[in-house]
């Protein structure tokens, strides 16, 4: 076990300084203003500036357009990005999944130029997984792709295609054999979003994020955009999906988060810090200091316990725990602040950055992103506790079923 502060050598210390200075120079006020306005989780300038230095995916080797960062350097970068507020970096994470599949399953002459642009920040790839009535049941995809010689014609619509409006391609789950068992009739494509017949419609969440419905009407693309074999989409998906769902055992010497829930905990941590600051700067109706208020101290303590629990719970279990903790504690902290806790950023009298008010809205999404907490509870029940699977009509193609 090791929880020591990392003792940086001169090289890493210099890099940390360089990263900090550079990020401060590119994360200008207009970047935050734009993100606050659009909720796109993306900023052209930031991505291209980072990409130009190989810092968009710095863990990749230099020959792939990265910076060959070791684990310490990667951690430095992650923390410095968080210092700047990582919201605009969201699409980087989204793109990273299909990039791996493209490298593995597409012919190099098709994939390489796209990968180069993506790593350099000029191209984004979004995920065309869910459908309007599909829930987390990806293998239930109904979007049809029909082959005609070298070309495919795509029809249907996808829900929750976050970043479609700023992306160049979507990593699309299509149904190519309606007669085969659900998960054996799926093919993956990399669909250029500027193709005729593609319509993108905005959906806004109440945390201010933007996502999209994407309609595909007789969209014709070349077979070269196929990712992996025909009807082999389920296996192609495993790569990215497993990555999304099986973050668990630590091989990094404690330099990576225990789960994707750590990101949720940081949002809770900011709210906790804000409420603590608020308690210092605010006096009770009777004029006394809130830092002496037993109920203030108690609830900050309770929130801290849940923060720590979310941070220290590993893998899929941490993803569920952190979401539950954020949902419950953000609500409790809003209660504690009272009406001021209802005032969002940039409103008269809002406290600080209004991190608590934001956390309360943001929390709800964390229970759904990349699979609901119920999906993950099912995965934990089957794969951690080893409980028998319920025999639902569609259970076999359920996400939780794939690890059989």
């Amino acid at each position: 076990m090791d929880f020591t502060l990392v003792d940086l050598d001169d090289e890493h210390r210099a890099l940390q300084q360089e990263i900090r200075t550079f990020l401060a120079s590119i994360f200008t006020p207009d970047v935050f203003a734009e993100e606050h306005e659009t909720g796109s989780g993306y900023n052209k300038k930031v991505y291209e500036e980072l990409g130009a230095r190989g810092w968009l995916y710095p863990e990749k080797p230099v020959e792939e357009g990265g910076a060959g960062f070791d684990l310490i350097a990667q951690r430095i970068m992650d923390l410095e990005l968080f210092r700047q507020d990582a919201r605009v970096m969201m699409m980087r994470g989204t793109s990273s999944l299909p990039l791996k599949a493209m490298r593995k399953y597409m012919p190099a002459e098709v994939a390489d130029p796209i990968l180069k642009d993506a790593v350099e920040g000029r191209v984004l790839v979004c995920l065309g997984y869910s459908e309007p009535d599909g829930g987390s049941d990806i293998a239930n995809a109904k979007v049809r792709a029909v082959q005609d010689g070298d070309m495919w014609t795509i029809n249907g619509s996808k829900m929750w295609t976050t970043g479609a409006h700023v992306s160049n391609y979507t990593f699309l789950v299509t149904r190519t054999d309606p007669d085969a068992p659900k998960h054996k009739g799926i093919t993956m494509f990399l669909v250029p979003l500027d193709a005729p017949g593609v319509t993108i419609q905005a959906i806004r969440t109440f945390s201010g994020e933007r996502t999209n419905i994407v309609y595909y009407e007789d969209v014709v693309i070349h077979d070269k955009y196929r990712v992996g074999g025909i009807n082999d989409g389920w296996n192609v998906l495993h790569g990215p999906l497993d990555e999304e769902h099986s973050i668990g055992l630590d091989m990094s010497g404690g330099l990576t988060d225990l789960s994707i829930g750590a990101g949720f905990c940081r949002v809770l941590g900011k709210a906790i810090n804000e409420v603590a600051e608020w308690a210092h700067k605010t006096s009770a109706p009777d004029g006394s200091s809130l830092t002496d208020d037993v109920q203030v101290r108690e609830r900050l303590g309770a929130a801290m316990v849940e923060y720590e629990a979310g941070l220290c719970t590993p893998g899929p279990m941490g993803r569920v725990k952190a979401s539950d903790a954020l949902v419950k504690q953000a609500a409790a902290l809003v209660d504690l602040m009272g009406p001021v806790g209802l005032l969002p950023l940039h409103t008269e009298g809002a406290f600080g950055e209004a991190d608590t008010e934001y956390a309360h809205r943001f929390a709800q999404g964390t229970a759904t992103y990349g699979g609901t907490v119920e999906v993950f509870r099912t995965i934990i029940a089957n794969h951690v506790l080893g409980l028998p699977k319920p025999n639902y009509p569609g259970a076999k193609v359920f996400l939780a079923g794939k690890k059989k």
């Binding site: 869910s130 009535d133 829930g135 987390s136 049941d137 829900m159 929750w160 959906i203 806004r204 969440t205 109440f206 945390s207 996502t211 006096s283 109706p285 004029g287 109920q295 609830r299 949902v327 609500a331 409790a332 809003v334 209660d335 504690l336 009272g338 009406p339 001021v340 806790g341 209802l342 005032l343 969002p344 409103t347 008269e348 009298g349 008010e357 309360h360 809205r361 709800q364 999404g365 229970a367 759904t368 609901t372 119920e374 509870r377 639902y392 009509p393 569609g394 259970a395 359920f398």
Partner: protein
């Protein structure tokens, strides 16, 4: 507490109460669809709906006949508040009602005429006034007068133009009132009478807010129930999964209890205000817990959809705190409840 009291616990509504409930239920359902709620954001006030509510007697019913009102009690006002909350109506029903009742109790007739016809909107300050610290006042952005406690005096502050609205999570007409700067101040009661009227107004606000949160949560649950019957996963309606059905059941359980407590608390305020002084706070605390949990479950179990502003679930979720917080921190109210328990065993 006395566990052996031979007391009735009869929740049956009188016929006229049932009629009142039905009438206001229809009124809000017809006059206030969620499209109107959305159209009234972010201010959270719709003048036209307010006028219709006045016509319905919504502003006069709670005032004594001596003050030109219809002399309805808290039970009747609570029933209306349930329907008001069910439609999350963008009108200051609660603030205006409890404040005008407080003025009537104090014998202040000056602004009551305008209060009766809805032209003079009244609001209640949540905390005693402290020099140099402005307050966020519920309905303060549309209120002509705000009632507040200043030392031992109950003071009515009146302005020509209410302070600018502050956009907030619950889309209610919040605004900052700097009482120091207001010249039109009228003392309407002093000493123990002032404190008693102020405390009573807060109890009434807690009970009516509890009722509104109950109605709000019922609406949130209703859309989830419909969604869960039609939405399928793994080839079955999600409503058949205990992981979905049980949380919905717990919300329904919370609603059933919170409604009864709110109604019971209203009855005590009408008939035996000194016998269960902590009941209004209990109603508020339990309704707040029920709404926090219920609207969250409603938004979450509708999946990504429930997280979008297009979904009505978002309207209820954002108001569970956006309305609930206006009646004060639930946790803080537990202390007075606990003190009551401690006193009863002394």
């Amino acid at each position: 507490m006395d566990l052996l009291e031979l007391r009735r616990q009869d929740y049956t509504l009188e016929e006229d109460q049932q009629l009142l409930l039905t009438a206001f239920g229809e009124f809000f359902r017809e006059q206030c669809p969620t499209s109107l709620v959305r159209a009234s954001e972010p201010l959270g006030f719709n003048q036209d709906l307010w006028n219709r509510l006045v016509e319905m007697g919504g502003t006069s019913m709670g005032l004594p006949e001596s003050a030109g009102g219809d002399g309805a009690g808290m039970v009747e006002l609570e029933l209306v508040a349930e329907e008001f909350g069910r439609s999350i109506a963008p009108v200051p029903y609660i603030e205006h009602t409890v404040t005008s009742r407080a003025l009537a109790t104090a014998g202040t007739s000056s602004v009551l005429e305008g209060a009766l016809d809805g032209s003079h909107i009244l609001a209640l300050a949540s905390f005693p006034v402290r020099a140099g610290s402005p307050q966020l006042v519920p309905a303060g952005a549309i209120a002509n007068s705000v009632l507040a406690l200043v030392g031992d005096d109950l003071v009515l502050f009146t302005v020509d133009n209410p302070p600018a609205h502050v956009v907030n999570q619950g889309s209610t007409p919040l605004s900052w009132w700097d009482f120091d700067a207001i010249t039109d101040q009228v003392v309407i009661a002093s000493g123990s009478q002032a404190k008693a009227i102020y405390a009573r107004a807060h109890d009434e606000r807690m009970v009516l807010m509890a009722a509104a949160l109950v109605g709000m949560t019922e609406s949130a649950l209703a859309i989830l129930v419909e969604f869960s019957k039609t939405r399928e996963t793994m080839g079955v309606p999600i409503a058949t999964l205990q992981g979905v059905a049980f949380p919905m059941t717990d919300v329904a359980i919370g609603i059933a209890g919170a409604r009864n407590i709110a109604r019971k608390a209203a009855w005590y305020l009408d008939h035996a205000p000194d016998e269960r002084p902590e009941l209004a706070a209990i109603a508020m605390v339990y309704a707040s817990q029920t709404a926090t949990h219920g609207t969250q479950v409603s938004a979450h179990l509708q999946g990504g959809l429930g997280f979008t502003i297009e979904a009505d679930a978002s309207l209820y979720f954002l108001r569970s705190k956006g309305w609930g917080s206006l009646a004060g921190d639930p946790q803080a109210k537990l202390l007075a409840i606990g003190d009551h328990v401690l006193n009863t065993v002394k």
